[in-house]
Point group: C2
Chain length 189, copies 2
Amino acid sequence: MIGELSKLPGVGRKTAQRLALHILKADDENAFRLANAIIDVKQKIRYCSICQNITETDPCSICSDPNRDHSSICVLEDPSDVLALEKTNEFHGVYHVLGGTLSPLEGVGPDRLKVKELLSRLKEGVSEVILAMNPDVEGEATTIYLSNLLKPLGIKVTRIARGVPVGGDLEFADEATLVRALEGRIVVQ
Amino acid sequence: MIGELSKLPGVGRKTAQRLALHILKADDENAFRLANAIIDVKQKIRYCSICQNITETDPCSICSDPNRDHSSICVLEDPSDVLALEKTNEFHGVYHVLGGTLSPLEGVGPDRLKVKELLSRLKEGVSEVILAMNPDVEGEATTIYLSNLLKPLGIKVTRIARGVPVGGDLEFADEATLVRALEGRIVVQ
C-alpha cells in the first residue's frame, strides 16, 4: 500500500507510510469507503461528449442545463479551469475543455487536443467563442492557433483580459502584464 | 544617528545600529557623499508643475519631451507607478500623478489630490485620459470619481485592464480577477 500511495503527487515515501498507518488504524468502514470512492470515480467518471469536461452523466450537468446560454462557448485548458470559472457565478454560457495546450516541445499538436470536437460544436447557433487559456507561452500559442482557425467561420472570437489582478499593485506588476493592461484598456462607460 | 536611521521604513533599532557602525567605519569621503546626496535630494527635488511627478527640473523631462504624445495623459497614484510604466517602454504619452487615492476613512478627499491640476491640463488638445489606478478599493473609488468628473468634458476616458497577469494561471486567479477578465474580454483581431 505504501508503494501505491507514494505514486500520488506530493506524496513521498514518508507521507505514504503515515497515510498507510492511518488507514490501518481506521475502522474497516472508513477504509472501505475510501477504496470504493476510488473505484467509483474510475468507473463512473467519463468525458462529456459535448464539452469534454469530466462528468458522471453524459452530457454533463452544464451542457444539459437549459438555463445556460448555449450560444456562448468558453474554451479552457483543463477541468480545473471550469471549476475556477464556475466559482465566480458570472459566466452563464457553456464550456469546452481542450485537455491541454499546444506544446510542440512535448509533442502536443492540435490532434492531441479536443479541437475537432470544438469545431463540430460551432455549426448550430454559436454566437461567441471566448478563448480563456492561461496567459503563458503555451496558452498564447493555443489562443493564436484557435483564433486563426475560428476567424474564417464568421463567429465572434474573444479572449479574456490580461492585466493587473484585482487587489494588485501597478508598482509590483511585471512589465508584460502592464503592457497588456495598457493595450487592453477599456473606455469608461 | 541610530535614532535618525531607525526612522527609515523597514529599519529597526538593530539594523540602524549596523548601518551606523558601517558609516562610522567607512572613510570620510563616502560618508560625506551619502550626507550630501540626502541634502541634494531635499534641495533639488520638487514637483513638476505640469504632471506633479517628482523631478529635478521643472517641467520634468517627460513633460518637456517633444517626442512624447501630449494628447494622451495617463493618471497614476504615485511617482513609483510612473517608474513602473516607463520601464515597459510601451507608453509614449505623458503622465499625471495624483499623489494618492481617495480615502474617506483617512480623510483624503479630492482636494488633497492633484485633481484641480489635472482638470486645468485638459483644456488644450487632450484626446484621451487613461485611468491607471491600482485595482484595489481606493483605486476603484478614485477611478469612478474621476470618470464621472471627466465624462462631461467630452474627452475619451479609458481605464487599464484588470485580468489574469501574464504568466499566471486561471486556476489560481481569485474570483474577482476572473470576473474582470471575462468582462474585459477583447475581440480577437
